[in-house]
């Protein structure tokens, strides 16, 4: 091809070559990709992606499915209702229900409660050196604490929480930041001692101890454990009693308890915790667990 402008001394060859090469490559690849996108088309219901956008995408598994994508797929398939996302709460439930054209049912707020107040106050019976993980410690001679029911204090729950709602305190105990806690249950699953439970936020009085050792035994290793003295049973004003002692451990009957706090005042070791102050509508910052 003859270009009259070559007379000007301009190196048109580069321009032509660049244009042709890149243009041809682009056309070739464009067609190729278009064909490939047809062949590898993924047929997905658009509602799945809409629901996934509404979910918190933490993959905690509290809904009972393997992850947020799995839950979204199940909702669209009609297997499960739209309000099962625990961390999402009512906001997410309403959004998911809106996508599906359903009604969201009200679910009450649940929080994690740590049933131990020992921590550094409880005596150790040996020294543990190893991987900084409660599960590893428990596998190694049942950890180093004197009380075999109590918190190991190595922070597995704090690490596992997808929302950063549990932090290890200087007292060797995990503290639940109830504003951030969504009740997903990851910490409860991960704790090797099983001392974290997910309970309704409406229940405000809990016996923060799981020790079934006799009172004398508990006294030797932990100053704040439940000794099974039954003072709380006597103080409870509820008809039929909302707190009972079995196996040297007091337990609150959540269906009967009115959260009056009388048992909290009479407990000699301070094992019963009252969350009323930390949970009521507040203007200031939450301080986490407060006992007696």
């Amino acid at each position: 091809m003859a270009f009259p402008l070559t007379a000007l001394g301009f190196a048109w060859t580069y321009v032509i070559a660049a244009g042709v090469v890149l243009g041809a490559l682009a056309a070739l690849f464009g067609v190729g990709l278009a064909v490939a996108s047809r062949v590898f088309r993924v047929h997905a219901d658009p509602r799945i992606e809409q629901i996934e956008d509404a979910l918190p995408n933490v993959n905690c598994g509290a809904c009972g499915y393997g992850g947020c994508s799995a839950y979204a797929a199940a909702v669209v398939a009609g297997e499960i209702g739209p309000s099962e996302c625990v961390p999402g709460g009512m906001d997410v439930a309403r959004q998911v229900a809106a996508v599906m054209g359903l009604e969201a049912e009200e679910k009450e707020k649940q929080v994690a409660v740590v049933f131990c107040q020992g921590g550094n106050r409880a005596e150790n019976r040996c020294r543990y050196e190893g991987i900084t993980d409660c599960r590893a410690a428990v596998l190694t001679q049942d950890a180093d604490k004197g009380c075999r029911w109590g918190c190991v204090g190595l922070g597995t729950c704090a690490q596992a929480c997808p929302f950063g709602a549990i932090v290890m305190g200087d007292d060797g105990l995990p503290h639940v930041i109830e504003d951030k806690c969504t009740g997903c249950g990851t910490c409860a699953e991960v704790c090797p001692k099983g001392i974290i439970s997910i309970l309704p936020a409406a229940n405000m009085v809990h016996v923060l101890c799981r020790s079934r050792d006799a009172g004398g035994q508990v006294r030797k290793v932990c100053p704040v454990g439940c000794i099974g003295c039954k003072q709380c049973e006597k103080a409870c004003p509820v008809e039929g009693g909302a707190i009972h002692v079995t196996d040297f451990l007091a337990r609150v009957d959540l269906s009967a308890c009115i959260s009056c706090g009388k048992c909290v005042q009479v407990c000699p070791t301070g094992a019963i915790g009252n969350f009323r102050l930390s949970r009521r509508a507040k203007r200031g910052k939450v301080k986490g667990q407060e006992a007696a």
Partner: protein
């Protein structure tokens, strides 16, 4: 001296490992090695892209961009687009951009395939899959395989360049698997707070690179 396939393999996988000796492709190396399963998946995706990219770019280099040696074939001249090629061919002008175009297209293709066939891996890799496009290791192996300064007398054939790309991918995957093994151990160790996660990973990479220096000039291969 013509380079053999075994020499290319040893040279690219061990002696001049793309990640540990040339320090290319550190983004997915640090970003995807928290779990070994992710690291292996990413390694295979990169291997695929590197092999195909080396193949296509070597074709481009030999038959479009460079001036043909006596009796050689050049697509542009053959199609009559240009009458004769300038001395250095169009290498300087078109090399980088056409290579990047090829790599980007291949990565798009890999994304589509993965999304359909292994959606779990697709989700796990997340943003790091399209980032293979900007991965300097893929561009690096394409450029290294088609560099005329290295073997002016015996430029690598298309087959050798493709093999080099594949070995580059193998070396990359090897480094990723080693790193993910180390990082999984580091996750449960007592690391000072300031060094946790990425900083200790970089320090470990440096130490691994020092170890790989031990392969230098092995079997007399200078690659």
């Amino acid at each position: 001296m013509d380079i053999g396939y075994v020499e290319l393999a040893i040279g690219t996988i061990l002696i001049s490992n793309l990640v540990l000796a040339r320090f290319l492709g550190l983004c997915p190396f640090i970003g995807v090695t928290r779990r070994t399963s992710d690291a292996v998946g990413m390694g295979f995706a990169v291997m695929f892209v590197m092999t195909l990219a080396s193949f296509v770019t070597s074709l481009l280099y030999k038959f479009v961009l460079t001036a043909p040696a006596d009796g050689g074939f050049n697509l542009l001249v053959a199609l009559g687009v240009v009458r004769e090629m300038p001395a250095g061919g169009y290498v300087l002008v078109l090399k980088t951009i056409s290579y990047i175009l090829v790599i980007a297209v291949l990565v798009q293709f890999v994304e589509m395939v993965l999304r359909k066939s292994v959606p779990v891996l697709y989700k796990a890799l997340g943003i790091y899959l399209p980032l293979i496009t900007t991965n300097c290791a893929v561009m690096g192996v394409a450029l290294l395989g088609t560099s005329d300064w290295k073997y002016p007398d015996h430029p690598l054939s298309v087959a050798q360049t493709t093999w080099m790309g594949f070995c580059g991918g193998v070396g990359f995957t090897l480094a990723m698997i080693l790193m993910s093994g180390i990082r999984e151990r580091l996750a449960t160790s007592r690391v000072p707070k300031a060094l946790q996660n990425v900083p200790i990973a970089f320090i470990s990479t440096g130490l691994m690179a020092l170890a790989f220096l031990g392969f230098g000039k092995m079997f007399g291969i200078a690659l």
